[in-house]
Amino acid sequence: MINTANLKRILIVVFASIALTACASSKKSGKMQGDVYTGTDTIEYLATGVADRVFFASNKSILTTAARDTLRKQAAWMRKKSKLTFAIEGHADERGTREYNLALGERRANAAKDYLMTYGIAGNRLSVISYGKERPVNSGSTPLAWSQNRRSVTVKAN
């Protein structure tokens, strides 16, 4: 015999999980997860399969899972190219004050640098420069444009 009270509980759990799934998928609208860019439109490649940039949430400098994945690929490639040095450019979107954004860009670039160093890249091969909000890649004033602009980009320095 199935207890009706138990059935009710089961149904509630089922509905709740449906609701949660709906919630999660609505947050991943188009090319953003939360407010972090997950698309590839602006990305350039250091080598085949080695993306040059990672993206951040608003006001944050924490590396996302995707960002760490990208940086591990960068590190693997950098280890093979031991004569190359790199500049890591940190950027912010246009929705913050200029000076805070300069500091934020520096913190983002250093988050990427630190991660590369933990994967064996010597610190003296990696310089850091912050551009704050001064060099957006997307000139739009939309959440998508801002997500593409919150980034750190690894560029060859020599």
Binding site: E94, T97, R98, E99, L102, I129, V137, S139, G140, S141
Partner: protein, 448 residues
């Protein structure tokens, strides 16, 4: 701007008697009824020569000076300069003895008259301010300078009248330094630009070869500190705008930014970013001694001294998000002062000491506001899509800031302009500039 300082200033007569003066302007409230003032053209003393400037002859220097004063007063929002067409008395006679009943007829409450004498290398201007209602002279002064420096005389006269009528120092004999912007939003060219507060005498101080940001005047003299990406190394620089000499401030192994002068002009306070952490430092310009003021793992930036030099306000995200803090100037006794909804940044202490202006971000909108140094009495003056970086007029009555527009869905339509607003929240005005502009900073009074 080579040493064109006024050669001398002398008082002719000071007959004003504040106890009996009827004409007064209250500048502490939003001024909904600006004072009607008649500014008669200065009459030109016979025998004066014409001034040639930028290859053009100035036909009527007396009228030009009065126009500069008129524009200053109109833009202040406190005065209503009356149309000169309605003036019934000739400038020369009015300057000797106004027929007050005639000026009352056109509803003037104050009258400015004057006389200008120009010789080959000297311009002398005198003016009188008359209380039309009480039928008496309030102040009379004369100034001399080189002929091509005539606009400054107009600004100094404006300041004297402002002071006599409001009881506070003016802000007309001042300059604005800002960042001139041109080009696409993704690759802006930025140059340091300087102009008189009314937009005249625009000059570019850098060529645009490197990114420059956040110029700030010394409150004491003609030095400016700013951030330059010269050789792609973002560092704080010091620039003497009289000589054009510039130098890096300090020897830091990383980005220095967000510079400002101490109130005595002797130190520069700024942020230094290293290993993802921005801290506040000072450097004494004479002794070159560098001091670390903050010590925290968060971002500490946008420092600004109180006018007595005893305190520093700054913004930090040590609470998780950007908020404003006040500490003693040695870095001790740090207190958070903003607890309202939203983010707070770019605090800047009023030259009067009683208020801190700031940028607030809440629900995707940007505000310029003021609060007391303990965080109480928050008052938001203006709201927009994007605006920040307020800078005070030297008398602490007006704020200048910049405002950026939204781009459309094609990424076009971006602009950034300078704006000013009174402390009262009234009199918001666009400041015309030749190019787009951002990061404005107001100088102190050039002549005190």
């Amino acid at each position: 701007m080579k040493k064109k300082i006024l050669s001398y200033i002398f008082y002719l007569l000071v007959l004003g008697n504040s106890a009996n003066a009827l004409v007064e302007v209250d500048i502490t409230r939003g001024n909904l009824e600006p004072l009607p003032i008649a500014i008669s053209p200065l009459y030109i003393e016979p025998g004066s020569i014409e001034i040639t400037q930028d290859g053009k002859i100035i036909k009527n220097i007396g009228e030009e000076i009065s126009k500069v004063i008129e524009t200053n007063f109109k833009r202040s929002g406190l005065f209503n300069p009356l149309n000169k067409d309605s003036f019934v008395q000739n400038p020369d006679i009015a300057h000797i003895k106004p027929r007050f009943e005639d000026w009352r007829l056109i509803k003037a409450q104050a009258l400015v008259t004057g006389k200008v004498t120009v010789t080959k290398d000297k311009l002398r201007a005198e003016f009188r301010l008359w209380d039309v209602v009480a039928a008496k002279e309030m102040v009379a002064l004369a100034f001399s300078t080189t002929p091509n420096n005539w606009r400054r005389v107009a600004h100094i006269i404006s300041d004297k009248i402002y002071k006599r009528l409001t009881g506070e120092d003016g802000y007309f004999d001042t300059r604005i330094i800002y960042v001139s912007e041109t080009g696409e939003k993704t690759q802006r060219f930025k140059k340091l630009a300087i102009m008189d507060q009314d937009g005249a005498n625009l000059k570019y101080l850098t060529l645009g070869n490197e990114l420059v940001l956040t110029p700030r005047f010394s409150p004491r003299n003609q030095l400016v500190t700013y951030l330059s990406y010269f050789r792609n190394l973002p560092r704080v620089y010091l620039l003497d705008i009289e000589t054009g000499v510039q130098e890096v401030v300090g020897d830091f192994p990383g980005m220095t930014f967000a510079p400002r002068f101490s109130p005595d002009g002797e130190k520069i306070i700024m942020s230094f970013a290293q290993n993802g952490n921005s801290e506040i430092y000072t450097m004494n310009l004479k002794t070159r001694v560098v001091e670390k003021i903050t010590d925290h793992t968060s971002i500490d930036t946008s420092p600004s001294y109180s006018p007595d030099g005893k305190y520093i306000c700054f913004n930090s995200d040590r609470s998780g998000l950007q908020q404003i803090y006040v500490m003693r100037s040695d870095g001790s006794n740090t207190k958070r002062i903003t607890f309202g909804k939203g983010l707070y940044g770019t605090p800047v202490w009023s030259p009067r000491g009683d208020l801190i202006a700031f940028t607030k971000v809440h629900k995707g909108r940007f505000y310029i506001g003021v609060m007391r140094p303990d965080g109480s009495g928050e008052r938001l003056l203006t709201e927009n899509f994007y605006q920040e970086a307020p800078s005070w007029s030297p008398n602490g009555r007006v704020l200048i800031f910049y405002r950026e527009t939204k781009t459309n869905n094609k990424g076009k339509g971006f602009s950034t302009k300078l704006w000013s607003i009174d402390l009262t929240g009234y009199n918001e005005r666009l400041i015309e500039t030749e190019t787009d502009g951002s990061d404005p900073s107001w100088s102190g009074l050039l002549s005190k």
